[in-house]
Amino acid sequence: TFGNSLKWEKNSLTYRIENYTPDMSVAEVDDSINRALQVWAKVTPLRFTRIYSGTADIMVSFGRQSHGDYYPFDGPSGTLAHAFAPGSGIGGDAHFDEDEMFTFSSNRGYVLFLVAAHEFGHSLGLSHSDDPGALMYPVYSYRDPSTFVLPRDDVNGIQSLYGSNPSKDPSVPEPPPPTTPDACDSTMVLDAVTTLRGEMLFFKDSFFWRSYPQSNTPQQTLITNFWPNAPVNIDAAYENPQSDTIFFFKGSRVWAFTGYRPVQGYPKTMNSFGLPRAVRKIDAALHDVASGKTLFFVGNYYFSYDESRQTMDRGFPKRVDQTFSGLTNKVTAAFQNRGFTYIYSGPYMFEYDLRTKWLYRVLRNSYFLRCT
């Protein structure tokens, strides 16, 4: 929050849309603005009424460069919008930079609903958050507006000002507010780990951390920031450095990207790798650079896929503990680094040499994904 109890002293607020962007239809703008306000109404006693003339508490407008408030916009990209904290006059108003390309739901351009929901957070008294998963994080990130749920950090922030929604029907279940995974949580079980162009990527829920040799601080970001068409809550991932391709697995489907660009023809079903139809999902994937084989872990077994022949190897599936000694629980993620193979099982990581099949060490997540 802004501090000093900067908030509206009433729960019933008015809003007015002063003008429209030509990027979208009038109906799309109306709907985006209304839904952006309802994001906050859902979790608080605040209620919003639209007015069509006169001065509303929250005046919504599109403008470019100098637009009358001494905070000029800066042309395409950079600053997308701004809003003023609760107060009379300009207080509560939200301005959108007309030099941006706003969209209803596409990831080409900025989704007006997401930008507006963030700005209305300011209009209601929220400052910026340093939680990269929060709506109030100052940097734009694409999310699917049709499945958007206000994150926990934002819910906590707005409810600290206005309290919770008294008219919420407890018998109607709603998805819980998403929280941002914490690298310092020693009990965290990663969804997937892979390399990509020399970096290590650690996936959990809608997020991943990037860790690269020049920096010892992993950077956390939303998966959709880098791969807008990729799934979240993935089951497995691996990189084939020969083809510069990264694969994401979720359920029975697989997505492929050359770096950050989608590969044509994907998503495909996992059967395209030759996995038996009975395999509905995999737990982990590992690409062995030395042999050019990719291992798919399913329960207590694993399959071996020959990348050059693009077929499954005979003699598989094998029991995991036949190759990876000491590994008795389910594999949850796997990757290679500097010639060693790291197999994750829950919050533990087993370090192997695949040639000798020796188990060297049992480590924790924090060995690579540092808590900072």
């Binding site: 916009f73 919008a81 003023f84």
Partner: protein
């Protein structure tokens, strides 16, 4: 292999403007002090801490990349002061 310099003069002035806009960095008035941490470095550290970046107090590629991402425009302090 680390590039010799990832940051150009234009980047430095871009970063200075960014910190003025979003991290309330003020222009130095009068003679500058010779000792102590420069205001630019202090504000860079503040920005790096906020975004969970590696805190160096220096303008590097990672910090510049974050500065160039699309974002919300009015800094919190200014919003509060304005009202």
């Amino acid at each position: 292999c680390v590039p010799v310099s990832e940051v150009t003069v234009q980047d430095e002035s871009f970063a200075e403007n960014y910190l003025k806009n979003f991290f309330n960095m003020t222009e130095q008035k009068g003679p500058s002090t010779r000792r102590g941490i420069s205001p630019l470095s202090k504000k860079l550290s503040e920005m790096q801490r906020f975004f969970g970046l590696h805190i160096t107090g220096a303008l590097d590629g990672e910090t510049l990349e974050m500065m160039k991402k699309p974002r919300c425009g009015v800094p919190d302090g200014k919003i509060a002061r304005f009202s």
